[in-house]
Point group: C2
Chain length 204, copies 2
DNA sequence: GTCTATATTTGGATAGAC
DNA sequence: GTCTATCCAAATATAGAC
């Protein structure tokens, strides 16, 4: 069902609308980004928007889909394998988290998530499942393996995972806030590594 | 300079406006809470609002002042005294944090803070200084004392503080999100205590 | 101090010519 | 597909009668 000949191509108007919307939503949130602004950013009239999207909501849904599509490639790997090595498992996880934190595209989506977190129930639920539950699950598996192999002290894997994850999230939030104001993140640049070091000393 | 005879009293219209505004701002944020809604909640016309406040912004400023006025009574106490006992210091800190997390008034203000965090630069700065720097400072002092007295292993006090604080914040955020949707926080009710237990085992 | 009336702006959305 | 024109609703804010 081709809506129009260029809708999926780079130069297509639909693509331009999406791009402009993404930028504006990530900066001002849903309410703050008006159809007016989107249209003027693209360089077309508001009415032209509606040839490509039913309404503002539909644009937002397409943009917000990207929030949880970050390629956190951990599940593809063999968790068990890496967990047997102990610290490298934590390091790998933290470095992927760091990568996403500083990746411009993921950073924007994280902003949007934070802006809408308390205004959008669906995003809240996705936040809980995708940002929390999913990560706790992966980490728990790793910690469980480490315990089985006496690499770390015995403790509830869920608790350890919660502890490990919460700090990663907090660093990410701080980085995002600083970068939003174009402030330096120098003091936080090695925080992920420091976290891994401290944490490993804590549990080994 | 009495603006009017009842402005500061409970039954005063100004007080009613403030109360309604507080509730609406904490639920819908600055943009989402309209002067219309505030007026209708109070039971007066919009124009009457302007007899008490210059504009919407002024109301918001008065409400948002309360965000960082939570009576975190730690500074009044002798940190050194408590830190010498080790774990009780952490426990006390975490329990105060928990109290604030579950306190209805503080919960509302925290909501507002989260909603506006990425839309209001001043709140972002205050968040960094009041929610982060200030707490890291208090904790660092405590950890430093503990190290001096060989109660815990030697490590950068700032790092330890960061680690300890980040989890508290994360729990608070989760609790706030769950309660926003009227969901049960049972699974998190003892998370603060678990955090203290885990953490103390980590550093002692 | 509150009300009615009104000004003004902004935002989402549609109809119909081109 | 885009434009002009237009509509409608919502929101902030002011003026002036009571």
């Amino acid at each position: 069902m081709p809506e129009n000949t260029t809708s999926n191509k780079k130069g297509g108007t639909k693509e331009k609308i999406l791009k402009a919307s993404r930028a504006l939503f990530c900066e001002y949130g849903y309410k703050g980004a008006s159809v007016r602004k989107i249209a003027s950013t693209v360089g077309i009239r508001e009415s032209a928007i509606y040839n490509h999207y039913k309404n503002k909501e539909e644009i937002f849904l397409e943009v917000s889909k990207e929030i949880f599509s970050s390629p956190f490639s951990f599940e593809n790997e063999d968790i068990r394998e890496l967990a047997l090595k102990g610290k490298p498992f934590l390091h790998k996880f933290a470095m992927q988290y760091k990568l996403i934190t500083f990746d411009k595209s993921n950073e924007n989506m994280f902003r949007l998530l934070m802006i809408e977190l308390l205004q959008n129930k669906e995003l809240r639920e996705q936040f809980m499942s995708e940002f929390h539950d999913k990560n706790v699950k992966v980490l728990s598996e790793g910690f469980f393996v480490m315990m089985q192999n006496n690499l770390i002290r015995s403790y509830d894997p869920m608790i350890i995972s919660y502890e490990f994850l919460s700090t990663l999230f907090y660093i990410r939030l701080q980085v995002t806030l600083l970068r939003f104001d174009s402030l330096s993140t120098n003091s936080l640049s090695t925080q992920f590594e420091k976290h891994v070091d401290f944490f490993w000393e804590s549990i080994k």
